[in-house]
């Protein structure tokens, strides 16, 4: 915080002096100066519109239409259905709404567990690797491999390992360690949730590790030295220095991990295919199935909009809370 004050003061003096020097220029010159940044932003703005906003708006429009197989060829002609798609999605007594709610709860549980484990593993590994030792960079590189692998290649490998008959997981758990009395199914049935969680954490924690590692570099060594002189142990150092200093980093990290995990489509899709088992029916695949597999794009869009609203609320609430908390602690 202290470091920003002089620059801000500098900036103010510079800004104050420059209009003074150019007092009384022609109007067009001022317009030009003010307009130029916007003009330069225009291509980016239009691209943003084209790539992000237009599809989003179309998606929202679609959610108010009855866009079934009879209309997809000429979907401008699909009849407006008002809020029917939404009503159907949130009617939790009817099968479609019930399935969506189930899928939502599965996703929330999955996301909380996955983000929590990713963060815990990432932070633990980063703290352990803070001190230099032989082979540290090798280990660091090794830890980042899951993050660097292409999703499809990595997950399909897990599919092979999770196979019932000749997968590695069953071979180790059942054949070698005799932990189960018969080989388990990992890709169908209830165990699929744990299979999905395993792959998700395996894939996600290196990112947490990377970010926390970067955050640790910014904590001054003197703090630890001073704490050590005052007799603080390792645990106290982590609790009183490391974690508070990592707060801003964690705030962003958790949010990003949450959004990624909640929206993850690739992992469940590659792991389970088009029809995910009920225990691992994540919302992104569920919506995909509601629209693509049953050819009802209106309902699918309505579900997507609901998901968008939910994520907006969560993100907004999270930012508001953490931001307030930070200001309060700063004061």
């Amino acid at each position: 915080m202290t470091a920003t004050v002089p620059t801000r003061a500098d900036g103010r003096t510079v800004r104050r002096s420059s209009p003074g020097a150019a007092r009384g220029p022609r109007r067009t010159g001022r317009i030009r100066r003010i307009g130029l940044p916007y003009l330069l932003l225009l291509p980016a703005l239009l691209l943003e519109l084209l790539v992000h906003l237009v599809p989003m708006v179309i998606g929202i429009v679609m959610s108010f239409k009855e866009l079934t197989q009879f209309y997809i060829r000429d979907w401008g002609a699909a009849p407006w259905s008002g809020l029917d798609n939404y009503r159907m999605s949130v009617d939790f007594d009817a099968p479609v709404g019930k399935a969506l709610l189930h899928s939502f709860f599965v996703t929330v549980g999955f996301t909380l567990l996955s983000v929590g484990l990713c963060w815990l593993l990432g932070t633990a590994a980063a703290v352990c690797m803070q001190d230099t030792f032989r082979g540290r960079s090798l280990l660091r590189a090794l830890f980042l491999v899951p993050y660097a692998l292409p999703v499809y290649a990595a997950v399909i490998t897990w599919v092979f390992m999770f196979q019932h008959d000749n997968g590695l997981v069953n071979h180790v758990l059942h054949d070698q360690l005799h932990l189960t009395d018969k080989p388990s199914f990992w890709l169908i049935g209830d165990n699929s949730f744990w299979a999905l969680l395993t792959v998700s954490v395996w894939k996600g924690w290196p990112f947490a590790f990377l970010i926390v590692m970067a955050g640790l570099q910014n904590i001054p060594r003197e703090l630890y030295e001073a704490a050590a002189l005052d007799g603080a142990g390792m645990r106290q150092q982590i609790r009183r220095i490391t974690l508070p200093s990592l707060r801003p980093v964690n705030q962003v990290l958790i949010l990003v991990l949450f959004l990624w995990t909640f929206n993850d489509f690739n992992t469940p899709y590659v792991l389970f295919g088009k029809a995910a088992p009920e225990a691992a029916d994540l919302i992104s695949v569920h919506i995909y199935q509601a629209s693509f597999v049953t050819w009802n794009f209106g309902t699918g869009s309505a579900m997507s909009v609901l998901l968008l609203l939910f994520l907006l609320v969560v993100t907004g609430g999270y930012l508001l809370l953490t931001w307030r908390g930070r200001r309060a602690s700063d004061v």
Binding site: L36, L46, L50, F70, Q163, H164, F185, K274, A275, W295
Partner: protein
């Protein structure tokens, strides 16, 4: 100053270009004959791999180019992507000129209006309806409407059995009824081999089988006026009988519950499994190194009696149709190409390569389709095969019921009881997911 102006000019130009290209997207509907010299063809994956398909099809496409001067751009689309690609093409209007579809999708795709209907006059340009066998024509769209597609390859399910395992277990002929199959299964298991393969997590395979079981129970998944009716007593009994092959009779190994990538074919080809229910598997087995004299082909078992109509149905009418995309910009060329692909000569060549049965009467005369192995398939197609329901919601039916069966297999594999009630509950849930109209 000059560089700033250049940047401004650049920004304006780029913005204009972007705005223009954004407006230029999308195309008007309806076909035309704007590019008469080229065609794009999406072929389904019929051979053991996409490379095999290209090798089979390219010489024929070259022949077509020589005859007509029309160059055909071939793309072989894997099954996992084909329906999605067609849906995307339908939505955007940007698709191929000619394409292959699974014949069970005919009515669903017909409802989207993406495919060019073949009215009598249009059919005459390719030689008329009578060139094709009836069973194949029954899977080209909803009844009472002009066909949305033309039959290209026909296939039927058969029971493939490993002669060596049968001999070792002391079984002298393939089972003709399910009871016999279960009894044979005990002898086979006593010798340590696994009995029957299935693709429990493959939604389409599940549908093909429960459809046949339903027929054998005298049941239908849809009422006469096309409404879903999944919870009728005999439908439930039919689905239960199929799942019971794993849950109660234990002839399908529990591991097959998670199969979805034709692992059961590999198990059979490796000689680890005594029997396999599959459609026209010869080419596939050969490519996996199983020689033709090590296995036999028999009709799929029935509940009692012999295969025939009614409850003697023992296969779906499996097959591939060829269709013209309505938005094609070479409609005449596309029709010409369909005519070429369904000509007697091409039908013989292509169906030989894929070990399928030609849906064209004249081509069936060829000696290649009268070997004992193919005779079983041909007999099944003409005498005891039924078309899947030709209703607009067919594709949704495949998904929801196929998924229900997948979940039931998962229950069976996990050792949970599969009861009439649990089957009915699964089917009821599936029925509620069907579109309201």
């Amino acid at each position: 100053m000059r560089s700033i102006r250049a940047a401004a000019v650049g920004a304006v130009t780029m913005s204009l270009a972007l705005a223009a290209s954004a407006c230029g997207g999308g195309s008007s509907g309806g076909g035309s004959n704007d590019s008469p010299k080229t065609l794009t063809y999406w072929a389904s994956n019929q051979g053991a791999s996409i490379a095999v398909d290209k090798k089979v099809l390219q010489p024929e496409l070259d022949k077509f180019e020589k005859q007509t001067g029309i160059k055909v751009k071939l793309e072989v689309v894997p099954w996992s992507d084909l329906l999605n690609r067609i849906l995307t093409a339908t939505t955007s209007g940007q698709g191929p000129d000619v394409l292959n579809i699974g014949n069970t999708w005919s009515a669903s795709l017909q409802a989207t209006g993406a495919l060019l209907p073949w009215d009598a006059q249009h059919l005459d340009t390719i030689g008329g309806k009578d060139r094709f066998v009836d069973s194949a024509l029954g899977s080209t769209g909803a009844e009472g409407q002009d066909p949305a597609a033309i039959p290209l390859y026909s296939m039927a399910y058969a029971l493939y059995y490993n002669k060596e395992i049968f001999a070792a277990a002391g079984i002298d002929k393939p089972p003709a009824t399910w009871d016999e199959l279960v009894a044979d299964g005990r002898k086979i298991k006593a010798k340590g081999a696994s009995v029957l393969g299935a693709e429990g997590a493959n939604v389409s395979e599940n549908i093909h089988h429960v459809f046949v079981f339903a027929k054998q129970h005298g049941a239908d998944f849809f009422t006469a006026d096309g409404r879903p009716d999944f919870t009728a007593g005999n439908v439930v009994a039919a689905v239960k009988q199929y799942v019971d092959l794993m849950a109660k009779d234990k002839v399908i190994p529990t591991g097959d519950a998670e199969y979805a990538q034709n692992q059961s074919v590999s198990d059979f080809a490796k000689g680890e499994q005594a029997m396999l229910l599959w459609q026209s598997a010869a080419a596939n087995l050969k490519s996996q190194g199983m020689s033709e004299d090590t296995y036999g082909i028999a009709p799929v078992p029935v509940r009692s009696g012999t295969p025939g109509t009614g409850t003697g149905i023992n296969s779906m009418v499996a097959g591939i149709n060829i269709a013209v995309f309505k938005n094609s910009d070479n409609l005449d060329g596309a029709t010409e190409f369909v005519k070429f692909m369904t000509s007697d000569e091409e039908q013989t060549i292509l169906n030989k390569a894929y070990t399928s049965i030609p849906p064209v009467r004249n081509a069936q005369e060829d000696a290649a389709f009268n070997t004992p192995a193919n005779a079983v398939l041909r007999d099944t197609l003409t005498k005891s095969a039924a078309a899947l329901p030709q209703v607009a919601a067919e594709s949704q039916f495949e998904t929801v019921v196929g998924t229900a069966v997948k979940e039931l297999f998962a229950d069976a594999a996990a050792g949970r009881a599969v009861t009439t009630d649990s089957v009915r509950a699964a089917l009821e849930k599936a029925q509620q997911q069907m579109p309201a109209k």
